[in-house]
Point group: C2
Chain length 869, copies 2
């Protein structure tokens, strides 16, 4: 039997995307459920592939096309090329995935002098017919025959002489058509085809050829789409929304895509074509007015919309045309929606019984929850705002305030009730108090996991990082961005969800966590299997996260406490100490603070495990760098300025990320680990006496040999014993170096748990400093060398292998090894999906991402697979 | 049958190290070949293990001991504990590997009042007998009974009252023995045992227990030696070298261990015990004098030495004692030797037919060749020198000269014929000319692969790096080291083979490459299977390496050429260019230099492949940092100081090692790759026209995705075509990121060769910046957390996995993929051994390490396996 290359719309269905393309499958499905779709047919992707390989149609294709055409003729009562009642068609490409470079739609195919006359007769509108023919020549000439479109535009402009299209007379349109044909003759070297069959064949070939056009090929290559998919061709009866006051065209959603409200939402234009709605020349009317203007059509549309929504079990985004009072459906697809709408729609549809809870949980993009958790810009205000620059969307939410460059000043201004935005070239731990005081943080340098980004996310505060177009002059108190200068005290607005930096005070609106949200999260938790913990360094963060559903702390960074108040002085003394005695003396000053902080965190996480990481960052980070500050510290410590400066200089490192940090500190200065462990277990013992259920998990960072973990773990265990803590606790390690993942089998002989530190694992495996990534990673992402910023979305293909290897080898040694992740990726939906598939026990993320992780984990449990793009 | 726990010396042999320990197996082997070994027996390690597990002797052990003792009695004609002719024995521990914390030797066991009297009668020397008893009580008390040794010393000092041991009278010695017994009674709470059998049993138990002593256990843990090996116990008839003028003791080598000369080499003392030779109280005489003093003994010793050497087929290091004219052999083992001696001995023994060529090649430690290739300090001069500080032995060889701190000054002084040592906190590319001018380089910061180290090794110039005890004050023109201040112009001497920094002008001696060396290398090349290439950046380096046998260039760093002369100005212009046009203009200035350099290198490597790496380091490295220099550059470029400074500041990176470098530069600025590729192929075409056989291999650095390599490779291929180079060439990549190794299968779809950049691979896999490693890696090595500095010796267990994975996956995709290594490890013998086992095609190392790599590769081909310690 001959291969079937042509499917009438009524012969296909939604499952045939591979063969019919997305558009063809959709039209077929709509036809199948009885929606009034203008009749037509689809030529399969297989025919395209044959054409690509052989530069010729496959045998039988044209016969099948003509047969389908006869079927359409019967359905419409028109005939293709007929001088009495001609059938006009549109020809559209339609691959499985839409992509740029594919052929544009040719409308009104089938017109020539004869059929144009018939069209004029049938519509009683000579101007309409002449314009339709003019448009057809222009589209066909440009798209199918490859004539430069500017040549046609030039003629149009000349004849219009400043008038609008609509003001052209029928004769003028005829004259234009004639000149268009001349252009075709000159440029394409062919006579414009009058024969509709020739027109159709040429259009089909043009669609096939566009599959292998430069732009489409480049796009597929970049997006790793197979060249062998091919494109389908859709041939459909033309309908016209511009045939007078009883005609119209519009688009509508079956529910409100902004709010989720269950009510038709959309707009339409009387006497217009589809492109006019998009072009925005005339202002469309809200769909509700259609009820008054065309009550029957409206009722029919409502019915169809409900039917489509019920059929697809999701909100539909529909295109329709009314031709002289008769409704035609041209397209339906799943409607895009805001996070708010997504949650409401999912929950309501589940409650309506349209979908089940699992589907509702699957229906909401986890990342979309960000909108529900953070302030957003008012859309109108945003639209009118002046964009100063764009940086990385480092911590979501929008905020507005006065620009300050100095953290002390930020603190002082904020204390007087001012809203401020802290603007810095980059932030360091010593800027912490300024970040606390500010509404939002903006930096010119640093990536998604820079200090500013990490701290801001932890505080749930908006942050735009790495806005490299900013030229900040801290001393002068101003910054320049693309020609605009902003001075200290001027208002700016930052949107940490998009990375936008806007001039002036732009209004924001606060989110409200709806009952729908709570319901959805409850359903999600019903499916979720991995635990979701939080990264929190203070009792306050811990409480916030618990409110969002965190089930413990996956990462408490002990050093984030070091900058508060006067503690930093003791920390600095500890660092510059020359002897162990001096160091112990300084540590003794820090210990009470640590103990108190730990006690507060344990209380906030009563009943849940708390993973505390021992000191990790390079010591140099805690030291002052300006001479002034060094002078102050030297005076406080009673040492000479030169000595202290020399000491600080000696601690400087070429690549601090790969330097003297992590467990290396504790290996060389065991007294630091001793102090921290003692503080942990003293606090644990104390809160336990208060009746708090405390489950400390002490985590040693940057381990890569079992010896390191054994050495540091022994110190921790000795301290637990000395303190007399008799509760349960664990000692484990971060796996954040490639070598640690490779050696996981041996490390697990010592470790009771693993926590993948995917930030540092990404930095080392890929050789990319997150703080320096701004100079090439954006270019890499844009050119698809990387599918995503690897500090936002885990590089599953590469870094992911190390997570898999580490987990597998660790569990081979210790089958009950608890394995989690505490990098920034713990709050990224695609990454969470990967972690669930890899079999991790928990993910940990910043407090405000906990709901996102819960939802992503539930979806993963429901079998969703999200891979690297 | 009962387990055999006791072996007479004549029952064992050299292969029984596991059971008899190293010492026992050696004594057995010597006995077996008829050497005059004092009779004795060995208690097996199995007995020790039984004792460790059960805290008791295994059944039958004592019976076997007494039986063996009877055999010894028969052989010696003495009887254990006999009042007429008593047998005295030594008791020694002897595990498979010698280790600290094992029991010291107990001598003269079997003495008590009765046997002592017999000994005095038999020797006719009351004082000797009394002293022997005093020594026995002291040793036994301390070693077996655990009495604090100081207690005995204290008594000795008291009685001697300033006199020497020898001046003590027989009565005084008796009195001391009595007081020693009192101490034992008080401290150990037991009566000193008179019964020789009790003494023997106690000594055996003490040996067994020492196996599980704290020091031994710690040592084994640190060195990964199994606790289940156990130790053997050697019980041997005492012989005395201190029984008058016909007695003697000494040590000798069968050949000269310094020069390799085939002649007995050693020294001896008349009327002395073994420990006296070592203690150095009296000056021993050269062994040749023994011929005159004891001609018969000498002849017998010569015969035995020859016999042992012939038996073991290697130089023997022997201990002997002459008791009243009778020769006894106490130990023989393989003699340690210098690199010079090792080569001469191996070649001569092979020529003598003692060993075959393969054995000769195996016999020489590759690292020992360093001595033959670099100047060394005269040993006497070294011994007398004052050690100022010790750093890392970063580039071998010794050199002396005047201290200079400034590279310009070094150049200027050197041009007047002065020998200078360049001393810097650390070096940067802009110090290059100063390094060229200097005899050697000394830095306070940086590791084995710091800039100073890498460049110095490339030049074959001594370098001591990371001498962190130095406090360098460049401005003041001096440095302080452990209390000594050295000023500019003072002489110092550095030994890059040991890391020593010495005060003053210490004489060095130049090596001479002997015919033996050439012969050995020829033999080695006969066995070797992998190629040995060199890392060379200049025609001169390339020629040097070729002289050492390099078979091509594995790594030519294009950027090392950037600093010569005025080129750096053009390079800097290129870096700070704001537009592509400016950048192209600057690149056009650099291109002729590059072309010329490449042409010179191609000529030097006529017939061999030359791997050229495209630009790799972070651009910031090439920029000036001092305001002065920035002013100069700004003036030259005609831009404002502030603008240039801002630009330089903007290029600063937090972790340049993980920053904007490698192929990332070429991805963002393709015109750089274009220029370099054009220079390569223009040069290649030119020298090809001259008749040179040129095989360029263009290597793209820091690749981790196939897209990067494809992008850069396409540029390279396009340039080859544009230039019209029609010879063979390849495009490949460095594998120097963990992700690259993991993705090797996909990268090999594009890459024609891989070269493992194990320096960066080590930095990233282990998360250690080589420049910052000084603060903890030495401590890690000392504590055996790392077996070696991973930048010197490849971390086979961890980083090695990535080399294996990369090779395996790359070859799975492309079976004929050429795979090499160009990190510093390419010149390290253990690492070369690993690379050969992993199946690499070539290793590449700095010119002066080429012979070492050749030898190591030959040994690997001969099946030697060198693993991580």
């Amino acid at each position: 039997m001959a291969t079937k290359y042509v499917y009438l719309f009524r012969e296909g269905n939604a499952s045939m995307r591979d063969l019919l393309g997305g558009k063809g499958a959709g039209l077929a499905e709509m036809t199948g459920i009885g929606a009034p779709v203008p009749p037509g047919f689809t030529i399969t992707t297989e025919a395209c592939n044959y054409y690509s390989a052989n530069d010729d149609f496959p045998a039988g294709l044209l016969d099948q096309v003509f047969e389908a055409l006869r079927d359409v003729e019967q359905a419409t009562g028109k005939r293709f090329g007929d001088a009495e009642n001609p059938l006009l068609v549109s020809v559209r490409s339609g691959a499985k995935f839409s992509m740029p470079g594919m052929m544009d739609t040719v409308l009104n195919l089938g017109l020539n002098a004869e059929t144009k006359a018939a069209l004029a007769r049938l519509t009683g509108d000579q101007r309409f017919a002449n314009d339709a023919y003019r448009r057809f020549i222009q589209l066909f000439g440009k798209i199918v025959l490859g004539v430069d479109g500017d040549r046609f535009e030039h003629v149009m402009d000349e004849v219009k002489a400043g008038r609008e299209d609509q003001e052209l007379s029928p004769d003028e349109l005829n004259a234009i058509a004639a000149r268009f044909k001349d252009i075709v003759r000159q440029d394409a070297g062919v006579e414009f085809p009058d024969d509709p069959v020739e027109q159709l064949k040429a259009a089909i070939i043009a669609v096939f050829k566009s599959w292998n056009g430069r732009r489409a090929v480049d796009y597929r290559r970049l997006n790793k789409i197979s060249d062998s998919l091919g494109t389908a061709v859709n041939v459909q009866t033309m309908v016209f929304g511009n045939l007078g006051e009883t005609s119209a065209t519009g688009v509508a959603f079956s529910r409100n895509p902004s709010t989720g409200e269950k009510r038709l939402y959309g707009e339409y234009l009387i006497n217009a074509q589809g492109e006019d709605v998009v072009a925005g020349i005339r202002t469309p009317r809200p769909i509700s007015e259609l009820e008054r203007e065309m009550p029957d059509v409206y009722q029919q549309f409502i019915t169809i919309a409900n039917q489509l929504e019920a059929h697809y079990k999701d909100v539909q985004d529909m295109e329709f045309t009314v031709e002289r009072g008769r409704l035609y459906m041209l397209q339906t697809r799943t409607g895009k929606r805001t996070g708010f709408a997504a949650v409401r729609i999912a929950v309501e549809m589940a409650n309506e019984g349209v979908i089940d809870q699992a589907t509702a949980v699957r229906r909401v993009e986890p990342a979309a929850l960000d909108q529900l958790l953070h302030p957003t810009l008012k859309p109108e205000a945003r639209a009118a705002a002046h964009l100063l620059a764009r940086g990385l969307p480092a911590s979501p939410g929008a905020a507005t305030g006065k620009v300050v460059f100095d953290p002390d000043e930020a603190e002082q201004l904020a204390s007087t009730g001012e809203m401020v935005i802290l603007v810095r070239p980059e932030t360091a731990p010593e800027d912490f108090h300024g970040m606390v005081a500010a509404q939002a943080v903006l930096t010119a340098r640093g990536g998604m996991t820079s200090h500013a980004a990490v701290v801001a996310r932890g505080m749930g505060k908006p942050c735009v990082a790495g806005a490299s177009e900013l030229r900040i002059d801290v001393a002068a108190g101003r910054f320049a961005a693309n020609g605009t200068t902003i001075n200290k005290g001027d208002y700016i607005t930052v949107d940490g969800s998009t990375g936008d930096v806007l001039e002036g005070h732009i209004e924001t609106e606060d989110p409200e966590l709806s009952g729908d949200f709570e319901m959805l999260m409850e359903w999600a938790d019903g499916f979720r299997q991995v635990k979701v913990r939080t990264n929190a360094d203070t009792p306050n963060d811990a409480s916030t996260a618990r409110g969002f559903g965190a089930e413990g702390i996956g990462l408490c960074r002990t050093e984030h406490m070091f900058f508060e108040g006067s503690r930093i002085d003791a920390v600095r003394e500890m660092i510059v100490a020359e002897t162990q005695e001096e160091r112990r003396a300084a540590l003794a000053k820090i210990e009470p603070y640590q103990r108190e902080d730990f006690a507060g965190i344990f209380r906030a996480m009563d009943g849940f495990p708390v993973t505390i990481r021992t000191l990790d960052p390079p010591l140099h980070e805690f030291l002052p760098h300006a001479d002034e500050e060094i002078h102050d510290l030297a005076a406080k410590m009673g040492v000479a300025f030169g000595v202290l400066k020399g000491k600080i200089e000696a601690l400087r490192e070429a690549n601090p990320m790969l330097g003297f940090r992590g467990c290396r500190l504790g290996m060389v200065y065991p007294e630091i680990t001793e102090m921290q462990a003692r503080a942990i277990f003293t606090a644990a013992k104390q809160v336990r006496a208060e009746g708090v259920t405390v489950l400390p998990e002490v985590m040693i960072p940057l381990v890569q040999t079992p010896e390191e973990l054994e050495n540091q773990g022994n110190i921790v265990r000795r301290m637990a014993e000395e303190v007399g803590f008799d509760g349960e606790y664990m000692v484990g390690t971060m796996i954040e170096l490639p070598r640690a993942a490779l050696m996981a089998g041996k490390i697990a002989e010592i470790a009771e748990f693993f926590s993948f530190g995917t930030n540092d694992l990404t930095q080392t495996a890929m050789g990319i400093s997150r703080d320096d990534s701004g100079r090439f990673v954006p270019a890499y992402v844009e050119r698809k060398v990387f599918p995503d910023d690897p500090f936002q979305v885990l590089d599953q293909e590469g870094v992911g292998q190390l997570v898999e290897i580490g987990t597998e080898r660790g569990r081979a040694t210790r089958p009950n090894l608890k394995v989690g992740v505490c990098g920034e990726h713990g709050g990224d939906p695609a990454s969470v999906n990967f972690f669930v598939r890899t079999g991790l026990d928990y993910v940990s993320c910043s407090p405000y991402r906990v709901p996102i992780a819960r939802l992503a984990a539930a979806q993963a449990a429901l079998g969703e697979v999200v891979r690297d793009k």
